[in-house]
């Protein structure tokens, strides 16, 4: 599975990346001391046997993702690394504050642009950037959603630069995925190395499904006392199907496909063995475009005809709401710090990665002059595709990309090549530093909550900064250490 949109980073430049486990003088960071002590005591055979055990278990349990464009039904494991990524509590507390702040502002932004558009009127964001964006949904204009919440589940991709600063690389507000790996990785670690968990106070994550369900119930249409929540999937051939089935099971709700639902009198029902049953909240894991063939793509076989009408009438809650994509677009990303100031009157706790917007002449000039050292991304690209990593590209590749940029500069943004932080990781040559990022999952309902940690993705190839599972990325368990 590809954990939603592209978080691909540039290649390491001159600066030495921040090592999560070791200080620059080679001594161990305090929050890793006890783990490292344990690790040194483990015989190599035990560790490789445990790695094999993890693989076998993941296969048997069917924790796989479907691979598109390969043999029908091909399923692959996402490589799991047994060395956890450890965050000390004080770092987590700061991150948590920054993430909540950011998601509050993003929700306020989406509500605003579908209502009064104050932020556009105030001139903070150029109106055409929002209103002409293909992810802006005019159908949502003036529609009130319960609690004013649009992005109920947000996956915010965080990286750490060479100075040890956390930065937001990307917001995922449509159908962010990967949380099942966060949960399964923890389960796997506890199964493989129970002794580690009695020796460390690792903040638990396994209540995530409860918190999620509670949030989903809290945003049911008004007047529904005991809402029926369902999870909507594109089906067993979707790359993230395991996660859909897993979450539905963990929450004890039905896993539905479009064909299981129908709309009658502006209300949504599912077909059951005991006749039609009313549905109140849909946690959907398919894109806007496929939700309702009458409103969006008419060729979609995945959706439910009439769903948008029921939604606009306020008879069903859809999470995430329709039209959130406009807020996680790469062309809107540079404005998020401004949103935080505008809606919350606060200064951002976690900064953005510096971003050049190539529709601006000055930025374009700079970027064209510095292509070999920058990362250039297509505004609507995802999954690490449609991008240029300057330092890792040949002259010819750079020149080819230069032509594309000059043809349609508004389609691109550029960022400095970050030396992403590294974490020790098992490789063919033993334990080696590999680049990582972090995707925490931010839930909004009655309140904004985050299960401590998130999904740590790791680029397994030496020197690679691409952590996407579709491009050779793996995952690690993420520990927030309580004291």
């Amino acid at each position: 599975m590809d954990f939603a949109s592209g978080s691909t980073k540039g290649i390491l430049l001159g600066n030495k990346p921040y090592n999560e486990m070791y200080l620059s003088d080679g001594t161990t960071r305090p929050h890793y001391l006890s783990y490292e002590h344990w690790l040194k005591e483990q015989p190599a055979e035990r560790l490789s046997q445990k790695r094999a055990e993890a693989d076998a278990l993941f296969h048997r349990v069917g924790i796989t993702f479907a691979v598109y464009g390969q043999e029908e039904g091909a399923e692959r494991l996402i490589p799991f690394d047994i060395v956890p990524r450890v965050l000390p509590l004080e770092e987590w507390i700061r991150l948590e504050g920054g993430l909540k702040q950011r998601v509050r502002a993003l929700n306020a932004f989406i509500h605003d642009i579908y209502h009064d558009q104050q932020i556009l009127k105030a001139g903070v964001i150029p109106p055409e950037q929002v209103l002409c964006n293909s992810q802006y949904r005019p159908e949502m204009q003036g529609v009130d959603v319960p609690g004013g919440i649009y992005a109920h589940i947000a996956g915010i991709d965080i990286v750490r630069d060479d100075a040890g600063e956390f930065l937001v690389l990307e917001d995922n507000l449509r159908v962010p995925s990967g949380v099942s790996y966060m949960l399964e990785n923890r389960k796997m670690m506890m199964r493989l190395f129970p002794e580690l968990f009695s020796a460390h106070r690792v903040a638990p994550v396994d209540h995530y499904p409860d918190v999620l369900l509670d949030n989903l119930r809290s945003v049911a249409p008004t007047g529904v006392a005991d809402p029926t929540v369902v999870l909507m999937t594109a089906g067993a051939h979707n790359s993230a199907y395991f996660e859909h089935a897993f979450l539905a099971q963990q929450m004890g709700i039905e896993l539905v496909e479009g064909q299981d639902l129908f709309v009658r009198d502006e209300a949504v029902f599912m077909r059951t063995t005991q006749g039609p049953q009313r549905v109140d909240v849909i946690y959907r894991r398919i894109d806007d475009d496929f939700l309702d063939p009458l409103a969006f793509r008419p060729d979609s076989m995945l959706g439910v005809p009439g769903l948008l009408t029921a939604y606009r009438a306020g008879h069903i809650t859809i999470a995430n709401a329709i039209g959130t994509g406009v807020a996680d677009d790469k062309s809107i990303y540079p404005y998020v710090p401004e949103m935080i100031r505008f809606y919350l009157g606060q200064s951002p706790i976690i900064a953005n990665v510096h971003t050049w917007m190539l529709r601006k002449q000055d930025d374009l000039d700079y970027v064209l002059a510095h292509l070999p050292e920058l990362v250039v991304k297509e505004v609507h690209g995802a999954g690490g595709y449609g991008m240029l990593i300057g330092p890792a590209s040949t002259k010819a590749e750079i020149e080819a990309f230069r032509h594309q940029i000059i043809a349609t500069p508004e389609r691109y943004i550029a960022q400095p090549t970050l030396a992403l932080s590294t974490s020790p990781t098992f490789t063919g040559q033993g334990l080696k530093p590999r680049h990582i990022d972090l995707r925490p999952f931010v839930l909004s309902g009655r309140d904004v909550t985050i299960v401590p940690g998130g999904l740590t993705r790791v680029a397994l190839r030496e020197g690679s900064l691409v952590v996407n599972s579709s491009q050779g990325g793996g995952t690690k368990d993420t520990w927030v250490l309580e004291a």
């Binding site: 349990v61 199907y241 099971q249 039905e254 129908f262 077909r271 059951t272 063995t273 005991q274 006749g275």
Partner: protein, 315 residues
């Protein structure tokens, strides 16, 4: 529960049961082929069996003659043939995967590893020596699946739809195996002596009934008793009566406001078998009886689909 979920559970169980039935059939014939035997008799038994299972056309599309070895491999391991044991295990697993959230994790893992292991076993280069082992293994996996189902699943709709699938498939399968052997039951064959003991042992072994027969009758094998055991014995797990009884009782546990007629027909089938005498079936013709029975099984399957699994739009 979702109609589609019930549908997947039903077919998951049907395909596992089908894989087991096929494994028994292959096993019975495979054993026969290892003993000193009449080649023509073995080939004929295989041909009748494939006819009853509606596999002949697919077989002739691949082969020119009935070779026991080729038949065994075709029925067991042919990945191109949708009716092979391997294909059944794949389809069972695909159905399970579509509703893995409605299964206990033990049941899902059992079905998943069955398919993963089957694929590995089938991919081995020299299956020549392994057919017997393969079908033995398939039976074990089916036993395990059934045990895990009964041992871990909540007795809710999911369980009942899965059981309906199992027993409807089993009824179908027993009736087809009997159909393949129907000439042995013809009037006159009942004189007491048995034309071909191999034939009977194949039939009985294919239904796990060989030892049971000895235990129940303590007598030589006679057609009437064989038919009695496989059709009308209430305590014989693969008999038609037993299967109908199970279908009926599971169906009653999931009834909805449309399903009264389906339930009535299932009850009627059960009552018919319950109150019929073997002599009556044989004198009015076993082939006709079996044909009618298979038609009723098909009808019941269609009605269950209509009432529960794939209800018409807006139902």
């Amino acid at each position: 529960m979702l109609s589609r979920t019930a549908d997947h559970l039903y077919w998951m169980s049907r395909y596992i049961e089908r894989a087991e039935s096929l494994a028994r059939l292959v096993d019975a014939h495979y054993r026969m082929s290892l003993l000193p035997h009449d080649d023509a008799a073995l080939a004929q038994s295989l041909r009748y069996t494939m006819t009853a299972l509606q596999m002949e056309e697919a077989y002739w599309a691949r082969h020119d003659t009935i070779e026991p070895r080729a038949v065994f491999e075709f029925v067991s391991l042919d990945r191109e043939f949708s009716g092979s044991i391997l294909s059944c295990l794949r389809v069972a697993r695909e159905n399970a995967r579509a509703v893995r959230g409605s299964l206990t994790s033990e049941l899902w893992e059992t079905l998943n590893s069955t398919w993963l292991d089957a694929r590995t076993l089938a991919a081995r280069s020299s299956p020549h020596a392994d057919i017997g082992q393969f079908v033995e293994w398939v039976k074990e996996r089916s036993h395990l699946t059934r045990g895990v189902t009964i041992g871990t699943m909540l007795r809710d709709e999911a369980f009942h739809f899965s059981r309906i699938g199992t027993f409807l498939e089993r009824a179908d399968s027993t009736a087809r195996i009997l159909t393949a052997h129907q000439t042995d039951f013809q009037p006159g064959a009942d004189a007491g002596a048995v034309p071909d003991p191999f034939e009977w042992s194949v039939l009985l072994r294919a239904l796990s009934a060989f030892e049971v027969y000895r235990r129940v009758y303590r007598d030589v094998i006679t057609p009437v008793k064989v038919a009695q055991l496989l059709i009308l014995r209430d305590d014989m797990p693969r008999s038609l009566l037993r299967c109908c009884k199970e279908v009926y009782s599971n169906l009653r546990s999931v009834k909805n406001e449309h399903s009264a007629e389906t339930e009535r027909r299932a009850g009627e089938m059960h009552a018919m078998l319950h109150f019929t005498r073997m002599e009556d079936i044989l004198s009015s013709g076993l082939p006709e009886f079996l044909e009618q029975f298979l038609g009723r099984v098909r009808d019941l399957g269609d009605r269950i689909a209509y009432d529960f699994l794939v209800p018409p739009a807006e139902a």
